[in-house]
Symmetry: C2
Subunit: 226 residues, 2 copies
């Protein structure tokens, strides 16, 4: 959900609430795979007037994009929230990369936006891009990754995550978890780890992401709790 | 240019010649930055009837795409032809990656197609994708790269090349040659080289690509020699 700043005026708050309701309705429709609906169905579900829609979005596509970006922001929060027990920055980075890679198949709508907008997302001020940069910097500071320019590091990280998604969608016969972990290991080696350390980090157990994503995007039951 | 098989019928040959003339006209227009012209101007330049156009392409966009794919095929041939003096497979791979990375700025139209279709090109049966796979296999056989699944290796290679292009277009203030060589080094390390070997390979002198690309896409003078 879009945050509503406490210091805003009543008008600003209502505006943010309307936007938030539209985004939630779009996320529910995405979860049901029903992005072909008319705008009127979106506004009815969000309980706002159809004229209001265009105060917030130019098109339905723009709304659905915003809905997935919002879901990705929630994903970033989720990946962070998992880490209470994990103080190793490289392991933190690797876990986020391995979980995000698994989303390509577990949350295809979210993956679609990652593929189309991954470069923008990697350089955006919020969401998964800045978290990745933060984790890489921390691993560099801890001596786990080689010290180097972050932009350079992000070329491999972002490019590999996007291309991984394309390959996993194109080739359903591939073992997606295995491929994701192998690519994660390659990225870690490029960032400066030994292959042995990278492979070890990429073979640790992960939280069950199919449980986690039900809270994000893929659970039609969310529509029952507006 | 599209090849004309020797064993084809006269009809097939004429058809291939017409397609080739359309592609050459489109490459010339790309080189002049004039992709907004009507289809009639393309067909006049190719000296074919406007009705003929739709026997070969559904749209002008499809023609321009085919024109750049053809140019990329020429690029792949060119990168191969440079290598008479280079018997080291990893050095061959690195040189092709470093030169292709430089094309993002030297040949923006070609880069545009690389960004939009890089994944398809990497898995296509002809062009730069199969050449990259061939070079990686050779370097693996020579013990320069770690032995591993080619699909896995291509995720990093393709993804990094595409994301590199996005970054170089977005941020004109970056030193494109330096960034390209650094990313190449990272890819080589991910493929199994030591950082020292990778950095050494990426600091060797390159052929001047601004000379080479004039033969490919960026020389309006080509229109004078139909």
């Amino acid at each position: 959900m879009a945050a509503v700043p406490a210091s805003s005026t009543r008008f600003d708050r209502r505006r943010a609430q309307t936007r938030s309701a539209l985004i939630k309705a779009a996320q529910d429709l995405l979860a049901e795979g029903r992005t072909g609906v008319p705008i009127q169905e979106v506004t009815e579900r969000a309980d706002v007037g159809i004229g209001t829609f265009y105060n917030h979005f130019d098109s339905k596509d723009q709304l659905f994009d915003a809905a997935v970006v919002d879901a990705l922001e929630q994903l970033a929060d989720l990946l962070d929230s998992l880490d209470s027990s994990l103080t190793d920055p490289a392991a933190h980075f690797a876990r986020s990369f391995r979980l995000t890679g698994r989303l390509h198949r577990l949350a295809p709508q979210l993956s679609r936006v990652l593929l189309a907008r991954g470069h923008e997302l990697s350089t955006a001020p919020q969401g998964i891009g800045p978290r990745a940069r933060r984790d890489i910097l921390a691993a560099q500071a801890a001596g786990q990754f080689e010290a180097r320019d972050l932009d350079r590091a992000m070329v491999l990280v972002t490019g590999s995550m996007i291309e991984l998604g394309r390959v996993l969608h194109d080739r359903p016969e591939l073992d997606g978890d295995a491929m994701t972990d192998e690519v994660t290991s390659d990225v870690l080696v490029a960032l400066g780890m030994t292959r042995a350390d990278a492979d070890r980090i990429c073979s640790t157990e992960l939280p069950r992401l199919d449980d986690l994503t039900t809270d994000l995007l893929d659970d039609p039951a969310r529509t029952a709790t507006p």
